[in-house]
């Protein structure tokens, strides 16, 4: 289907199904019950899942395929956000031109930065991209305030020109939409204790995410993707065969920059705001964490990693001491306090500690991330059933 192999089609269909039914899947616990805090099926968080999924898919095209570790990818996300908001201010509240401009601008930006940074490789490349991103951050905060809004961030205003939109007489700020369908509009479905929320913004992001996922699969399977893998495994050998690796790495860099810009544009479409902190280097570090945690160089890994980190950030960080006490209330008092004292540093405000430990464990024991863990489990289960199929499992199941 669509020029994909059988395996890839299955993968795409599974991801599509997961994304479409996410409001159900992520809402397994009835509202009002003690477990309801683990529900992630509200629009804001689901949008973040898919947007950061796009960001990580794009990052993986660069890092996973070519092995170039960029520590400055958040800069493109920021550029995408800023250009989308400017489009809202100047042209129209329709999200399509905004996202288009975000992708184009971040692509051009990536072309410029990539052209310079890709002269070096290894850690030098990481430092160069980091330096560029920090420069963008510092400039967006200070000198470029007329364009970026500085510390307050770039916001919509009542008197923006918006030349394509009809004049508004209401006093409210306009909201981004797709030909009249407001991004923030939602529909609720009540089934017994469960309330499922379907948001227009989420489904718009989901469609964009599926398209970008499909394109990532095509890139992975194309001769171009093969070339990028060759760069990762041995660039010298590639040079000796008379090929110049630079155009390929630069193309990969620009593509992944455009993915980041797309994510930034979507972010601005969901909430028309753009701030410099999106470009700070910790944001670049976050996408590295997502990709590694999920599985570098695999198709589904970055999406899983992005989902996991965003889930932890929003759900784990909400658990506080009282909730912990109520969980362990069945234990004797002394034991309860003891366990709560041990668990407490890892949740709530301390969720970064859990994240850091998890990330270290993955890098040390599971360099392939969650995908490798899944493969190992699958192999163990299959191995118990039949030993003669061992050879079939050695091919990577991306």
């Amino acid at each position: 289907m669509l020029g994909l192999g059988k395996k890839d089609t299955t993968l795409l269909l599974i991801v599509a199904a997961l994304v479409v039914f996410a409001p159900f899947i992520l809402n397994p616990f009835p509202g009002g019950s003690g477990m309801a805090q683990f529900n992630a099926g509200y629009p804001d968080l689901m949008q973040r899942f898919v947007i950061f999924g796009i960001f990580a898919i794009g990052f993986n095209i660069l890092f996973g395929l070519t092995g170039y570790l960029s520590f400055g990818h958040a800069a493109f996300l920021g550029v995408g956000s800023y250009s989308a908001v400017w489009m809202f201010k100047l042209l129209s509240m329709n999200v399509l031109p905004a996202i288009l401009l975000a992708v184009v601008f971040s692509g051009l930006f990536a072309l410029l930065i990539g052209y310079i940074s890709l002269r070096r490789s290894g850690i030098y490349f990481s430092i160069l991209t980091l330096a560029f991103a920090q420069m963008c951050y510092a400039l967006a905060y200070s000198v470029l305030t007329p364009i970026t809004g500085g510390e307050t961030g770039l916001q919509l205003a009542q008197d923006d020109p918006r030349i394509l939109d009809a004049a508004r007489d209401s006093g409210n700020l306009p909201v981004p939409g797709l030909f009249g369908l407001e991004m923030r509009s939602t529909a609720d479905l009540v089934l017994g204790d469960w309330v499922f929320t379907f948001s227009a913004g989420y489904y718009f992001c989901a469609v964009v995410m599926l398209i970008s996922f499909y394109m990532a699969i095509r890139i992975f399977r194309s001769p171009f993707g093969m070339m990028l893998r060759a760069i990762k495994s041995n660039q010298h050998r590639l040079n000796y065969t008379g090929l110049n690796a630079r155009p390929y790495t630069l193309a990969a860099f620009v593509i992944s920059g455009m993915y980041a810009g797309l994510a930034g544009g979507l972010m601005a479409s969901m909430d028309p705001l753009a701030g410099a902190e999106r470009m700070f280097w910790t944001a670049s570090g976050e996408v590295v964490l997502m990709t590694i945690l999920g599985g570098v160089g695999t198709l589904i890994g970055p999406v899983l990693g992005a989902g996991l980190i965003k889930y932890m950030e929003n759900i784990l960080s909400k658990i506080n001491g009282d909730i912990l006490h109520s969980w362990f209330a069945f234990l004797p008092d002394g034991l309860e306090d003891f366990i709560v004292t041990i668990v407490y540093p890892f949740i709530g405000k301390g969720w970064h500690l859990t994240l850091g430990l998890m990330f270290m464990a993955v890098v040390i024991f599971l360099p392939g991330g969650l995908v490798e863990a899944g493969q190992r489990i699958a192999r163990a289960v299959r191995g118990r059933r039949s030993d003669d199929r061992k050879s079939a499992t050695t091919e990577p199941a991306e």
Binding site: G67, L69, I116, R119, R120, S121, G122, I123, Y124, S126, I127, L128, L130, A131, F132, Q134, M135, A138, L139, Y141, S142, V143, L144, Q235, H236, W281, T282, G285, V288, I292, P345, G350, H352, L353, L355, G356, L357, F359, M360, V363, I364, P367
Partner: protein, 343 residues
Amino acid sequence: MDAIILQILNGLDKGSAYALIALGLTLIFGTLGVVNFAHGALFMIGAFCAVTLSRILTFSHTIIDESRTDFLGNPLKVQVPYVQDFFGEAAGATIIDWAVPLSILFAIPVMILVGVVMERGLIKHFYKRPHADQILVTFGLAIVLQEIIKYFFGANPIPTPAPDAFRGSFDFGVLLGFEANQIIYPYWRLVYFAFAAVIIGGVFAFLQFTTFGMVVRAGMADRETVQLLGINIDKRFTIMFGVAAAVAGLAGVMYVPINPPNYHMGMDFLVLSFVVVVVGGMGSLPGAVLAGFLLGILESFASMKEVIDLVPGINQIIIYLVAILILLTRPRGLMGRKGVMED
């Protein structure tokens, strides 16, 4: 002229911190070949050693002073640090006042221990893995260390003052024959610079004039041959990791009065220190020190009003700009050696 001297002086303290951290980073990279993203966290742990010691020293019990009363007429409760009980009132107060310099003694063993544990427990297993993996695992470690510190000390900066003797500023211009009040410079920054110079000198002397240092240098040049000579170079490199950690930690201890430490100060310095290392040349110790001071001074020049008027925003980006220029024109950095991290 006086403005220029003032800016050089202002650049020195930041430059000293950059130089010390970059020195440790280079030491680790040159000996073990590991890119240590957790080095900023070591700087931060050093700073919190000073905070810890000053808290231990001010650990106090409450007594009721019958001779004084509060505004309600009740006897006044007075906090008396245990140190004052042990050493007498005046001596105790002096000890508390000198908490930050005293932390040096406290921080050295702690930092060496932290460094050795880190190397033996984690970094050792990453020698054979690609640099990207080393960056990632130490990045994870930095997050963990940072969060642990945050858990114990909170997220807010903790002001810890310098000893009374070093508070205030002194008129540096008078020494050079300028008019009074032209070049005012805080004492503690001068102390910091002198301290950094001593540490840097100490590390170089240690490597240059001791047998241990000679072996380490030989190991940096050709690890295999040194091992073939029957020398346990791994053990020495582990100790060097401890030394590098101690250098970063001491840089952090003494930086406390300049900038109240918070849990992410390490990361802020780390990014810049990496830039410093790359500018100086990966694996070159003199390069790291030179680039540290150079970039520190450049940064303070770029924040002069005249320069900012000329090129707005230059003070924010000067370091990165210089790094990009150097990397593109002199790929090995200012004093980089051939064959280090070439591919």
